[in-house]
């Protein structure tokens, strides 16, 4: 199936939005403006953009600690995201949660997650809720290669398989869990192989190729919607920066890094749009500067928003 110019431009726009958001978050964190920890999605944009392009608003996603990209792609409000990352009361969690705890249920965002692998069973339960309510909504669970070593992954994939649940397990394999490279934390090369252990399809895709990600997701989603159960979709990718902002990242081989940087999804997207005559260099530059302006506006909103109040300390712990 080949994608239309419009669809491709939309996905490209999404990738650029994530890229610019993360670039600015990175800068502001280094400048000491942001509290907490920041796990940047830089380099992995094609996965969030490609997967969510295959979803509807009433589909759900459960995100990870590296969640900004998933949230933006699923339609998250970047002003509320920025405010949250700044720790301000106008943010998604009223400034009490920060980068790793953003959720927006109206948009089907079940939440980022500070516990690696924490979202996988939650996504699976949400998939049962979709099935039980008789909707044909599906749920996507995003997690990393290292997360697939947790019991939560194995327990949840097995349950989804046994009950044919409409969930797509998207493993963003950036080949490292913090400093530990994949060959030191698992025996297999493709996490997708783990699907076979539970009797579900395991698919490997180039995670830096937004079209390939989209197409693989369309297949998995179609199967989930018609009740044929889950898919494990592994997207091979690379994070451009350290594990978190501040990680010197000395454990990666510089030449491997260079190779992957040449496969940057936005570089590739740009080349593809131009080759197919879907956009000119100028049009891409215009689109990028529009997005930059949008992000600056979100930053201004975050930065100038009030801090949470003392009274907020005890709210939202219980229903009353």
């Amino acid at each position: 199936m080949s994608m239309s110019q419009e669809q491709l431009l939309e996905m490209f726009r999404c990738m650029v939005k994530i890229r610019e958001f993360e670039n600015r978050a990175h800068e502001m964190f280094l400048a000491g403006e942001l509290p907490g920890f920041l796990h940047l999605y830089l380099g992995e944009e094609a996965i969030a953009a490609g997967v969510t392009a295959a979803l509807r608003t009433d589909d759900w996603v459960a995100s990870s600690h590296r969640g900004h990209g998933h949230l933006i792609a699923k339609g998250g409000d970047i002003r509320l995201m920025m405010a949250e990352i700044f720790g301000r009361s106008t943010g998604y969690c009223k400034g009490k949660g920060g980068s790793m705890h953003i959720a927006d249920l109206d948009l089907g965002i079940l939440g980022a997650n500070g516990i690696v692998g924490g979202g996988i069973p939650i996504a699976t339960g949400a998939a049962l809720a979709c099935q039980y309510r008789g909707t044909d909504s599906v749920v996507v669970s995003f997690f990393g290669d290292a997360a697939s070593n947790r019991g939560t992954f194995h327990e949840a994939v097995n349950m989804a398989a046994v009950w044919d649940l409409p969930v797509i397990f998207v493993c963003e394999n950036n080949l490292y869990g913090v400093s530990t490279c994949q060959r030191d934390h698992m025996r297999i090369t493709d996490v997708a192989e783990r699907g076979a252990a539970y009797g579900i399809p395991g698919v490997v895709v180039d995670g830096n190729d937004v079209e390939a990600v989209y197409e693989a997701t369309v297949t998995a989603v179609a199967s989930a919607r018609r009740g044929a159960g889950p898919t494990l979709l592994e997207c091979k990718t690379w994070r451009h920066q350290g594990h978190f902002v501040g990680d010197p990242c000395a454990y990666r081989d510089p030449s491997e890094h260079e190779e992957w940087m040449a496969k940057d999804p936005i570089l590739r997207g740009t080349r593809m749009l131009i080759e197919r005559g879907f956009a000119t260099k100028d049009a891409i530059a215009r689109l990028t500067s529009e997005i930059k302006a949008e992000i600056e506006e979100a930053i201004e909103f975050g930065r100038s928003s009030p801090w949470p109040d003392v009274a907020d300390l005890l709210t939202d712990v219980y229903s009353d």
């Binding site: 907490g36 070593n149 869990g177 913090v178 801090w307 300390l313 005890l314 712990v317």
Partner: protein, 326 residues
Amino acid sequence: MARLNMVEAIDQALRQEMDRDDTVIVLGEDVGRDGGVFRVTDGLYERFGEDRVMDTPLAESGIVGFAIGMAIGGFKPVAEIQFSGFVYPAYDQLLSHAARFRTRTRGQRTVPMVVRMPYGGGIRALEHHSESMEAIFAHIPGLKVVIPADPYEAKGLLTSAIRDPDPVVFFEPARVYRAIKMDVPEEQYTLPIGEARVVREGADLTLIAWGAHVRTIKEAAERLAADKRCDVEVIDIRTIAPFDAATVVASVKKTGRAIIVHEAPQSGGFGAEISAQIMERAVLHLEAPVKRVAGFDTIPPLSKLEDLYQPSVDLVVDEVIATMEF
């Protein structure tokens, strides 16, 4: 004697005990080649190799369960959890297995292992990275819970914890990690597990804390002394399980007043146990109700609100004055 921060002191304790005893094995996520996310295990991989400093997969319950098996098999594993907020998948292993093995085998086998982890707030991090849930570990019979307040204690207590025949959960206050340097003897030494330490003697009131808040209460006591308000005794609990009630009770019998300070949520926190022990053993010596200055019963908030969440020197001073005036 070198001036070390807590990270360096723990690293040194591990290195020296690994030199002394080749059954000591360090394991955890990123503890090896990388030297740990907080660099606590820096240099150990280079010195001892991958057989004794093991980079594990991301699997907390696996790591701790694995450590139990190694301990039963004759080793002394020291497992690192990157933040205490990530230990709960392993809570099952600690509660259901590590803590019970001695009883189950009627004393024939023990589980000499340590689970180390940074904990507590004050580092501007978010929920799982700032919490202080020591009470739910102290509630487990068979588990020891040790919390050093400074680099000197960290080295001595960790050495004791590794040598201890029972499982020890070792909480390292993240905000202290690099905040202070102090003289730490180069040679190995141990500090007793199960004994509190009187940090400062005083006649009017007993302030009690552990971990990062030993500093808070020491500063409060010093300020109150400088202002000639009152003479406060300061106790560093050091190990909340087993809890040294005798030292606390003796102090309160002398001073007649007690305030317990912790950053964990107040309800069901370890302060409640200390207060109950004082009631049971020293009630007739009390001049005022025992008070707690504790965290709120909420999830640790990010950033700005954290300053309000954490017990402060000002707050402790105010509570001391109120208790003195009761």
